[in-house]
């Protein structure tokens, strides 16, 4: 007796979907590998460049150390072999396995992204609902203008202004970093310390996202309001508040969820600018630096994890659609 949720159709869906996902991730990895090897120069050259001086012997030693003296097909075969055994390889530049490096940076990235996206989704959606319900009135104009302003202002500029005002000027919050290492806090003091460091970067990043959610939510709400079933709801005498929350909001959530999926997918890519300005030890900076340093193993590893997350989140979003709107069905 098969469990009712595990009927043939579902089984086929999951098998197909998972195979599809694995192929996509593998395909991305292959394309990345060759794309990145098109970049001029290699890691040995970058290291020698940074060292300020070099000899051919020194560079040959580095290339041997990095495995760069092997022909490209051999390097590719090694990389592929590693991948199929779930080994992301070794970053010679950092002298650490790629997985360990990603693991070191992951908590900081997750913290920053969760805080900023959470803030953006909640505050942005709320503002969007308020704007839609007051469409054309002062509140709407104010919210829309603010959202546009945050959206149009470059992230690094917002970040720097926040630093100048709240750190240097008012001295309320730290300039950057994730902890006050000098103080050596532990326990709750440490949590409070990290939270204080988190405020400005999360706000900077959140303000940009917030604008997107506000505008998306407002537009979706307005669109759904014109639908027939809303007229029906009004006709059967429901209270406006209930209509707004149960009928309009739920249906308006679809585009927001789509957007959320896209953004969560880019979590591992991190937020290079914000991480740079606030010296936040996240993955975005690691990937960005790896690119300039031609640390291809590391960069490929981050990109691979990133693509895996995108694929998984896509699946999650698809599943969420069916919950939000029962008319949508999963199909192969």
């Amino acid at each position: 007796m098969v469990a009712p949720w595990l009927n043939r159709r579902r089984l086929r869906f999951w098998a197909g979907r998972l195979a599809h996902m694995a192929l996509v991730v593998l395909g991305i990895a292959v394309v990345n590998f060759f794309l990145l090897h098109l970049a001029p120069g290699d890691a040995a050259q970058v290291l020698a460049g940074e060292a300020g001086s070099a000899t051919p012997e020194y560079m040959a030693a580095l290339r041997r150390q990095f495995g760069l003296d092997q022909p490209l097909p051999v390097q590719f075969a090694q990389y592929l072999g590693n991948l199929l055994t779930f080994n992301l390889g070794f970053s010679f530049r950092h002298g650490l396995p790629v997985l360990e490096l990603i693991g070191q940076r992951l908590p900081a990235t997750l913290l920053l992204m969760t805080a900023s996206i959470g803030f953006a989704v909640l505050a942005g959606s709320a503002l969007g609902v308020v704007a839609a319900r007051n469409a054309g009135r002062l509140a709407d104009t104010l919210i829309s203008t603010l959202a546009l302003l945050f959206y149009a202002t470059p992230v690094f500029w917002i970040g720097l202004v926040l630093v100048v005002v709240f750190s240097v000027g008012l001295d309320w919050l730290p300039v950057g970093g994730m902890t006050s290492v000098e103080a050596g806090y532990a326990g709750w003091d440490h949590v409070r310390d990290v939270a204080r460091h988190l405020v400005l970067p999360a706000a900077t990043l959140g303000l940009f996202y917030l604008a997107i959610y506000t505008r998306l939510m407002r537009a979706a709400m307005l669109e759904v309001t014109t639908q027939d079933f809303i007229r029906t709801a009004v006709a059967k005498g429901l209270k406006p508040r209930r209509i707004a929350l149960r009928h309009v909001l739920r249906n308006a959530l679809l585009p927001v969820v789509t957007m959320l999926g896209v953004q969560v997918g880019s979590i591992l890519g991190g937020a290079v600018l914000v991480e740079t300005i606030f010296a936040w030890p996240g993955l975005g900076r690691l990937a960005f630096e790896a690119l300039f340093q031609r640390d291809l193993n590391l960069l490929l590893g981050i990109l691979l994890c990133s693509s895996a997350v995108v694929v998984v989140v896509n699946l999650a979003v698809d599943l969420l659609y069916t919950v939000l709107d029962p008319r949508i069905e999963l199909a192969r």
Binding site: G49, S53, T55, Q65, G95, L101, L160, G177
Partner: protein, 542 residues
């Protein structure tokens, strides 16, 4: 060089007479004689970019040296006039024929893990690291044929030819001694201790949180009694220049080196009561900025065109305007900060647009109907805005004489491959460290053996002159310093006549430090040296 040895003996005698080794460092600066250093406190400094490894013996990059110099000691360090001072070596002797150098090591020095430091460490590192892996020292120590260690505290280098450059690069950056007991028999480049170094220096490695911070702590068993004064040094990674300025201004960070903030911010920060701008401590590096002219280019192969470009450039404007005064016009590739070697009588190419135009006309490149003679590309060294602005200045300056310049930008890997590998460029810019002996830092820009070898920071112009090659080889093996100086002056005369590259400016890198942080610069190699003399006046800031 016997004079150096006797000077070091004198210094040592003076220190012994004073009865306190601590005074040895203190006498370097007058200001510390007036105030007794106060112990304690945590110094927070900026390291940018984040180092790759923490041992300078295998990587000579600036951030590595900045931290590594605190964990390791050199055989010597250099005072502000670049005279060697005793460190791990208490004294040294150069044989009259120049064919051997003897270092007498300090007694009772231990590595941070408790192992004694001995002559075997020096011998092993010289044979297995300096002569093989070290990016710069293969040339410097190439003439060492044998290393003898008659006892634990004596190291004798036997040379095939005299090699006076050795004594100018045996500080902890130029020739870092690694602990043999931790490195012998391992793959040196991959040794885990490169990331958690064990040295003999004033500070002990504590922790490195990648992308975040790095912590060193006071070495309680340091051989230089009474030092270091600081309890802890925290190095923070702050990638954004504006954020670095904010952190310094707020006092979160008290020390940052290698021109850590944009030049236009430096002046403003220097006026704040709590901060000081310091340009000393870079003497050992002696950086100079130049344009490399690709002599294989159809226009630039004509020396008249190269001289015309030199005449079209106002080097004063580059120093004072483009570099905000943090530079001094250069006339020779050997900077004036190496007074013994610098030749002030080389051919000078004063700023004279008319002369430049006349030379271009003479070379046969008349202005076309649109006023343009020919077009060139410029690739600037991708180390930031200052070099880009220098390139923009070049574009303007050459436009005045009818040469159209297209500026191209790329990242470091692409740049070094383009210039030193593919040679696919017309004019490039770069800065080199001359170091305290031109053999170490300057000759690489002119020796023809480097052309097209894809080795960064070597001969970019493609200059090939057998006479210069011969002189470079000759200077390396000369036993008398006067003879070497004469050879280096001859080289300067020739290359400034042929002009494959145009020296623009002697760069003045600067450090920013808190005003209450004292004695942070006591050495000519300070940025690659130790913070053992530094101390906080009044309460340490946190």
């Amino acid at each position: 060089m016997t004079s150096n040895a006797s000077r070091s003996l004198l210094l040592r005698a003076a220190a012994l007479a004073a009865g306190a080794a601590a005074l040895l460092g203190g006498t370097a600066l007058a200001q510390s004689q007036t105030q007794a250093p106060r112990d304690g406190g945590t110094l927070t400094a900026i390291v940018q970019p984040e180092p790759v490894t923490l041992t300078s013996a295998i990587n000579t990059a600036a951030p590595t040296g900045f931290i590594s110099g605190n964990v390791f000691d050199g055989l010597v360090d250099y005072d502000l006039d670049l005279n060697p001072r005793p460190a791990l070596a208490e004294r040294w002797e150069v044989a009259p024929d120049g064919l051997s150098i003897t270092f007498f090591l300090r007694k009772g020095v231990t590595w941070h893990d408790g192992h004694p430091f001995t002559s075997a460490d020096v011998k092993w590192t010289l044979e297995n690291v300096w002569k093989t892996i070290h990016p710069r020292n293969q040339a410097t120590f190439g003439r060492v044929t044998r290393v003898e260690t008659p006892d634990d505290l004596t190291v004798i280098l036997r040379l095939s030819e005299p090699s006076l450059a050795i004594l100018s690069s045996v500080n902890s950056n130029g020739a870092q001694v690694l602990p043999k007991h931790l490195y012998e028999g391992t793959d040196v480049l991959n040794n885990p201790h490169n990331l958690k170094p064990v040295g003999t220096g004033a500070f002990v490695f504590k922790e490195w949180s990648k992308g975040n911070h790095l912590i060193l702590e006071r070495n309680p068993n340091y051989w230089d009694k009474g030092k270091p004064h600081l309890d802890r040094v925290v190095f923070k990674v702050i990638p954004d220049a504006a954020a670095r300025a904010a952190a310094l201004e707020k006092g979160d960070v008290q020390y940052a080196v290698f021109s850590p903030v944009p030049l236009k911010d430096a002046e403003r920060l220097g006026k704040l009561p709590g901060l000081k701008i310091e340009t000393r401590g870079y003497e050992w590096i002696s950086p100079w900025l130049f344009f490399d002219l690709n002599v294989d280019n159809q226009y630039l192969k004509d020396v008249r065109v190269r001289r015309a470009i030199a005449h079209a450039i106002d080097r004063k404007a580059i120093s004072n305007i483009v570099w905000y005064g943090f530079a001094k016009p250069a006339i020779s590739p050997v900077p004036s900060t190496l007074p013994a070697f610098h030749d002030a009588s080389v051919p000078q190419y004063e700023f004279d647009v008319r002369k430049a135009e006349a030379l271009l006309d003479e070379a046969g490149y008349k202005r076309g109907a649109d006023g343009v003679r020919f077009a060139l590309t410029h690739d600037f060294i991708p180390y930031g805005d200052d070099y880009k602005r220098t390139g923009e200045y070049l574009k303007q300056a050459l436009k005045r004489v009818g040469i159209e310049v297209t500026i191209r930008s790329q990242d470091t890997a692409a740049f070094t491959k383009r210039v030193y590998g593919d040679r696919d460029f017309d004019i490039s810019s770069a800065w080199f460290a001359a170091f305290s002996d031109p053999q170490v830092g300057v000759t690489r820009a002119y020796w023809s053996g480097w052309v097209g070898k894809n080795t960064p920071w070597t001969n970019g112009s493609g200059y090939r002159n057998p006479e210069v090659d011969a002189l470079i080889a000759q200077a390396q093996g000369q036993a008398r310093q006067e003879d070497r100086i004469a050879t280096f002056k001859r080289i300067q005369q020739i290359v400034q006549t042929d002009l494959p590259s145009i020296p623009l400016a002697e760069l003045k890198f600067f450090s920013v430090h808190a005003a209450n942080l004292k004695d942070v610069v006591t050495h000519g190699d300070q940025i690659y040296g130790s913070l053992k003399d530094a101390w906080f006046d009044k309460a340490a800031s946190n």
